[in-house]
Symmetry: C2
């Protein structure tokens, strides 16, 4: 089965890992599986968080997806690599550089390679494919676009760059609106639109505004998802009225949405066929169904690899 | 007293350190010293060894000078920083990068800062001044030029880039000739020609062909040294027929020069007034004097800071 996942950072990376485990592990009827399970999963990743620091091109969501798929990620922290050291960052600080954004020594190697290849003219999709291959990642990982697309956050303190809002000010500001700089002129990266024709398209339990919206803002992507021939499934990132991670709950509220799986379902209505909500939100199933969506109620908290694979298998069964 | 040193890597860096100690330390008659001893020493540094690795701009000689003046250098090894770690290099190797050139984690911070500032359009001289200030370096450190100048080495195996010859193949190839790519179009960095009007100009005990020649190859520099109004002194890098460090002896031989302090003196005749040779080469003093040079015989092996300062004080006395 061909599966495409639309993903932001941690939640998307964990579900990508689960899908890779579910698709890549030899099933009971191994003879009938596709000849190349590696090709079965495509992960389309948000680039609105991308930034440049110390002259290096940083793609936080792509790296979280790559590191998690390569099983090199720091599970406890949620981002970055396991067993990191910070000698270069310490030296950058000693040289007077602004080091509010934490960059580990091993993580820096990724940014150095990405930057060198972008500067010589390789598109981000080719650089990402190279990094994925270098790390032994099986699924195809695609940036939403090779073009410039930057999420800007309107707050009471003015318009902020994404990382300034998210890391620098620790997403403490109320979000009054979002602006995806460059989106109008961006083109989907090669393979993105084709991937949306997969038998199963999953919207990860990522932040609807900060992770999924910038993907849909690339001209052609929202329409391709609307017209997608396969089964389209979204997993709610809101469980029991709270975000599993990050500022999704605050942003839903400040933008006038209900802070619940139902609020998320209203945003995704028309874009997906099935809404997956947590068993703690079973009471919302009827209201979600009233939106014309099929509802699947389950334990959506993935945790480690076994939980990811379990949720992934349930999603595969929905197609 | 204003002093200018022409320097390559380790030997130049050690003498720069000695001169900084000798000029910077408050002398007995403190009231008569220049108001800003920091301005008294200018070090003009070879950039022919500069290269780009992993998309980062590397200036080995400038960094050796900066690290030594900041007393951050690895004295045992001769290059790089003390107490280095190599996590980023290890990760670069894991990503399939070619890692024959050793880059420490803290050293990488220097290259990252340099590269970011060069890419935004700062000239190398401004970037070097920023790095020097960040490290607390007192002397003015100037690249010979802000323009592209790359030392290429002709060998029986063909023309090699400098770092391929020096690090990659560990200077094992016979040197048949040198080519300073870009030299004809290069301009001296701001301050270089003025600095050659100092009361004392010293050619460091650096490699005459790999360190000093590429400085003199920048149009205007050789002439300014020839016409320099101050005392011009060269320190022989050859002691007892051997180089203190590196391939100077082999290169003198393969290019048809005598491998001795006299051979070096013949190369520098006309460019300097005084030749400083080691006491082990005292028997050559007459032949050096016959070239029209004043000869100063002393212990030229600097070793640690006390030896550097001692040699530097002798040089200051020559002016």
């Amino acid at each position: 089965m061909n599966v495409t996942l639309l993903a932001g950072g941690v939640g998307g990376a964990r579900l990508a890992h689960g899908l890779d485990l579910a698709l890549g592990a030899a099933p009971a009827n191994a003879s009938t599986q596709t000849s190349s399970p590696a090709q079965a999963l495509t992960v389309i990743v948000n680039v609105g968080d991308d930034t440049e620091l110390h002259g290096l091109a940083i793609s936080p969501d792509i790296d979280t997806v790559l590191y998690t798929l390569a099983e090199l990620n720091d599970e406890d922290r949620g981002w970055g690599l396991r067993g990191e050291s910070y000698a270069t960052l310490s030296a950058l600080k000693d040289l007077g550089e602004d080091t509010w954004f934490t960059l580990g020594d091993r993580d820096l190697a990724t940014h150095i390679v990405r930057t060198a290849r972008l500067r010589r003219g390789d598109p981000l999709s080719a650089v990402t494919a190279h990094l994925a291959a270098s790390m032994g990642v099986r699924p195809r990982v695609l940036p939403a676009t090779d073009d410039h697309l930057a999420t800007l956050v309107d707050t009471p303190s003015g318009r902020l760059g994404f990382q300034e809002y998210f890391v620098g000010r620790q997403h403490a500001d109320a979000v009054l609106g979002l602006h995806f700089e460059g989106a109008d002129a961006a083109r989907p990266a090669p393979g993105v639109l084709d991937a949306l024709a997969a038998e199963l398209v999953v919207l990860a339990p990522s932040n609807p505004f900060l992770s999924i919206e910038p993907l849909l803002a690339v001209p052609g992507v929202r329409q391709a998802l609307t017209d997608a021939p396969g089964r389209r499934v979204a997993v709610s990132p809101i469980v029991g009225g709270q975000a599993i991670k990050g500022p999704a709950a605050q942003i839903l509220e400040s933008l006038g949405h209900e802070v619940s799986a139902l609020g998320v379902a209203r945003i995704y209505a028309g874009l997906v066929d099935v809404m997956v909500i947590d068993e703690r939100d079973a009471n919302l199933a009827g209201a979600v169904a009233d939106l014309g969506l099929t509802v699947h109620v389950t334990d959506t908290i993935m945790g480690g690899p076994p939980g990811r694979e379990r949720l992934a298998r349930e999603l595969l069964a929905l197609a």
